[in-house]
């Protein structure tokens, strides 16, 4: 899967060049031409592929054929005047047997496809040709590749989701504005880099700190006053929805709706391990996530404050009566949770790019992770995030890729029904 974007990009770039060169000549012809280029995208620049047969059909009967030339281009005039052809469906077929040995189209669906004639202009079709393996990697290979992608996704989700879990555990708030904490980190790093010209690593570091401060501000300016007013949890949940809508649009106000990328972090050459592609950038992101998650785990098991956090999550009333400063724990949880969320946003942006609603887009996935693991439990959230990541990526082996997030949502619903306390949560926590 990871090979695809690069290949597609090469094809598109190649096509642009070819179309740019070819179109002036084509415009003079009376008949409509089906034309384009065949290029082998395994090399850079792509090499032309000659002697491939292409045919054009109308209503199932072949009306014209052509063969690609030494420069990989072809142009097949369609018989009949352009006016008569208007509104007709043309089916363009590529004879895969005529492709060079051991190769196939990078886009397997393109061997036969149909276009409707809408103008009298020529119709351009470009073909990218890659290794035969692309026709479908072995199932095992695919499972391995998707599992790795799933783990990477799960680690990012774990960072992003810990905050929701901690806040829920200590205050009972289901924070629908948590996505905006994730986005905050991504945007802060971007702002530091883009507007102030900071080095990415420095920008990311300060952005994580700023995200923590932002979390603190969230609690101090909004949630803490609401708690002391005795506002109900459902009312607070709806307040968080309003806050989410507000912040999301403020973000868009200042950063626009564009997709942003960080600069200065090279993707590196893809590592190919037994047919499984791993981008070094993704790998290092995953390593950082693991280190941070281990640090969080150590913090909650080894430090006084961490232990207190767990105690409050387990039973706020009991913790308070046993002398734990619940307010201090909640403050810490907001700072740490928001900083982790912000870091998750930066890592996500580094991996996939981001926009003003990146956090909102993955909010339901983080809910799924948190619920799966058991609301309010720290280990559960990490485990839940990994499972959700794996499920999402593995499901795309059998489901159309656009439905891969649906899997996570369906699992979320099923878990709520069957075991609302989550996989690792204790029954006593619910209610």
């Amino acid at each position: 899967m990871r090979l695809r974007p690069a290949a597609v990009l090469a094809v598109v770039l190649g096509a642009l060049v070819v179309v740019g060169l070819a179109s002036p000549a084509g415009a003079a012809s009376d008949a409509i031409n089906i034309k384009g280029t065949l290029s082998d995208t395994r090399t850079d620049p792509p090499e032309p592929v000659p002697d491939v047969k292409i045919s054009v059909e109308i209503d199932g009967s072949e009306v014209a054929t052509g063969v690609s030339g030494p420069d990989g281009t072809f142009a097949i005039p369609v018989p009949g005047s352009p006016d008569d052809l208007l509104g007709q469906d043309l089916t363009v077929k590529l004879d895969t047997d005529s492709l060079p040995e051991g190769t196939s189209l990078t886009d397997g669906k393109k061997t036969s496809f149909t276009v409707m004639v809408k103008t009298n202009a020529d119709i351009t079709v470009n073909y990218g040709i890659g290794p035969e393996a692309d026709k479908g990697p072995g199932l095992l290979q695919e499972i391995a590749q998707n599992s790795i992608n799933g783990v990477f996704l799960g680690l990012l989700l774990a960072l992003a989701a810990l905050g929701i879990s901690l806040v829920f555990g200590t205050t009972g708030l289901t924070n629908f504005a948590h996505g905006e904490l994730i986005t905050f980190g991504a945007l802060a790093a971007y702002l530091l880099q883009d507007a102030f010209g900071w080095n990415f690593y420095a920008a990311a570091l300060l952005a994580v700190i700023l995200a923590g401060v932002f979390g603190l501000a969230n609690d101090r300016l909004l949630w803490k006053p609401l708690r002391s007013r005795g506002t109900g949890l459902i009312a607070m949940m709806i307040v968080s929805i309003g806050l989410g809508i507000f912040l999301r649009n403020v973000y868009q106000y200042f950063f626009g709706a564009d997709n942003h990328q960080y600069r200065g972090v090279p993707a590196g050459d893809l590592w190919n391990i037994g047919g499984v592609g791993i981008s070094p950038k993704s790998f290092y992101i995953a390593v950082i996530c693991v280190v941070v998650l281990i640090l969080v785990s150590l913090a909650v098991t080894r430090t006084r404050l961490g232990k207190a956090t767990r105690a409050v999550s387990d039973n706020p009333a009991l913790a308070a009566s046993s002398g734990i400063d619940v307010n201090r724990v909640i403050t810490t949880v907001w700072i740490a949770g928001a900083a982790l969320a912000g870091m998750g946003g930066i890592m996500w942006g580094l991996q996939n790019g981001f926009d003003y609603q990146v956090g909102n887009k993955i909010l339901l996935l983080t809910f799924a992770a948190v619920t799966l693991g058991g609301l309010g439990t720290i280990w559960g959230t990490m485990a839940g995030a990994l499972i959700v990541g794996l499920l999402v990526e593995l499901s795309s082996i059998v489901l159309p890729p656009e439905l891969k997030y649906v899997t996570a949502l369906v699992v979320l619903i099923l878990i709520l029904l069957v075991r609302p306390q989550g996989l690792l949560g204790r029954a006593e926590r619910v209610g």
């Binding site: 289901t174 609401l226 007013r229 506002t231 109900g232 949890l233 459902i234 009312a235 607070m236 949940m237 709806i238 307040v239 929805i241 309003g242 806050l243 989410g244 809508i245 507000f246 912040l247 999301r248 649009n249 403020v250 868009q252 106000y253 626009g256 339901l364 809910f367 799924a368 619920t371 159309p400 656009e402 439905l403 997030y405 649906v406 949502l409 369906v410 979320l412 619903i413 709520l416 029904l417 609302p420 619910v430 209610g431």
Partner: protein, 332 residues
Amino acid sequence: MSWFEVLTNAIEQAVGPQAVVYCLAAIGLNIHFGYTGLLNFGQAAFMMVGGYAVGALVQTWGQNLWLSILVGLLAAVVLALILGVPTLRLRADYLAIATIAAAEALRQILGAASLNDQFGGQDGRFGFTEALRDINPIPEGGVDLGIIQFRSYDFFIMLIGWVLVALLCVFIYLLMRSPWGRVLKGIREDEDAVRSLGKNVYSYKMQALVLGGVIGAMAGIMSGLATSNVAPSDFATDTTFFAYTVLLIGGAARVLGPVLGALIFWFFLNGLDLFFGKATSGTDPLIPSAIMDSNQASLMRLIVLGLVLMLIMIYRPQGILGDRRELAIDGR
């Protein structure tokens, strides 16, 4: 556009087809949330099954529009049962997450490219309103009510919509002052208490979910009929949240809450949009372009909306019509 037109346009929108749609969606939510205390965050799903049933049955499968509307309403009943049988046992915040996830999953499925032939992917279904347009009795030139004007078909939709809203309000008024409504309100307060008095709480919750869901489907169908289009983007999570805002502005657990809420919501949502649009347009805009350009102006209404939702919930959770002592919002 003059400042006066900004005002009149906002008034037109306040009673226009979109206001009808959100009014209906909020009436459904009022039954769920206002009266029964069910935190349904998936109202968009009910709208979606209604709208898509009509759009797809007519456009994809060539069925009769009226029959399709009936099927759309039945589809909402089915969705309520599928969603309700398992989730109505959950506590409030889990129900919220389950319904929001169900709605989003359904939306992604209906918008999937692999189901393009049936549901039209991201473009959705369109052009299925011929039968309704054919019986439109409003003169082709539209309707001029002095300072506000409506196009013929829009006015026809509004007419149908507001009559429907009025009928539903009467129906809900009758329901909620009856012993049936009393049981719902009891469940909202404390379902165990109601159980201890011999009432089948689960069955009442299901009845509420179905009724509110069917009214939600009416909203989705009206939305499809008004624009001759149903698309996944019409039924995003925010759609449900807007309906909540409408309900909470007007006042939950009040028969006329959703109506008043819809009027105010759409007046201000569009008023703000038009105001900031005008304030940032032209060669010498009221607001310098360094502060706000026209793209940013279009975001102002949502920024304000988010703030309003927060402030209402904090300072006046009973909305405009509600009675503070009887406010429906309560934490567990």
